[in-house]
Symmetry: D2
Subunit: 117 residues, 4 copies
């Protein structure tokens, strides 16, 4: 995924529609959370096992794919607006997670599996 | 961003810790929404203008960068678990948005700026 | 629960601290979603069965109780700011749900159980 | 608002439809976050000032009222399922907030206005 090129295309898309005024980091964070809420609606009444069995062509899978795309788009926009290097941020977080969650200490422990600070 | 390589690294990270059992699509959608909630906490009492002025080195910016990384990581995991081709999904959504929101019809109209179906 | 008295107390609490400026409906909706995200963090790596077994005194239960209180507080504030009669809104929604989801048509059907429009 | 009576009515409503199986605390927390996401969609592209000007009869206000009702309904359900006394939890949190945020120390300070731990 060519992050910079995508960000430029999304910025152009917004600029052409005069939507940049709406794309403050605050508003983009709301949009991300709202999209994440829509994504959850696909799964909220399914069991975990049912959620894992969704397959291409099924309505739930197609909806999830759509919401995943929306989340990626807003994430690219937000990173762009804040000047966050998305790839470097991911690498930094993976490195930190490796340090914080040593294999031997957290194996199979759900409470440690948050991937975050 | 090399999506496939990152997804493989994240899958290995989870497998080594026996965390795959927790990474059902249902649970990953919850993690995404929870991370989006944490991201919003950075911005919720800021004005839109203040949110746009955050800069590297400031605590809010660093927190936002961290949450953006978490969102990207969980998004990569979820796409992987569901077998969604992240890049293709983004391209499909951008194409649809271009069709749904013609420049002349939506210019400057916030209600049209949802980037989604 | 005396909704009006609670709303007055919460409004006084905010006014005394000069926090009313932050309590726009937009910001309160962000706070609600962020609190809901924190609530989910209690449950996100638990199975549904584990989530149902949480009991008073356990850390997860106490955290959930705290987040439920926060959600109720922000919901009271938002209803107050928008001039929404909380009780009447709930009654209207229950009546609509009864109409939309007749027992015979939706029994045991998860996809119908969204309690919403 | 008669919390206990409402909770009993909502429990009956779920039981009659055989929906109790879906109402684990985990799932109800997802539903709350998803509803909060829908609520935010009403406000996400509005300015704070615009969000404060919504009035009965306007589409945004009616949507917000609906989502507020859904949030209240799911909050009542979740408190019921977890055995949380909603009113006592709110009183405990208000007392704690009064202690944590003394008027003189936090006046006008947005960063302190989170109403939570």
């Amino acid at each position: 995924m060519d992050v910079e090129t995508l960000q430029k295309r999304l910025a152009d898309f917004a600029r052409e529609r005069d939507w940049e005024q709406f794309h403050s980091p605050k508003n983009l964070s709301m949009a991300l959370a709202a999209e994440a809420g829509e994504l959850m609606e696909v799964f909220q009444w399914l069991t975990e096992a049912q959620s894992a069995e969704l397959a291409p062509g099924e309505k739930g899978w197609e909806l999830a794919r759509d919401e995943i795309a929306d989340l990626q788009i807003f994430l690219l926009r937000l990173a762009d607006r804040l000047g966050v290097d998305l790839e470097a941020a991911v690498e930094a977080k993976i490195a930190r997670n490796a340090e914080r969650y040593p294999v031997e200490q957290v194996r199979g422990d759900a409470t440690k599996c948050s991937h975050r600070d």
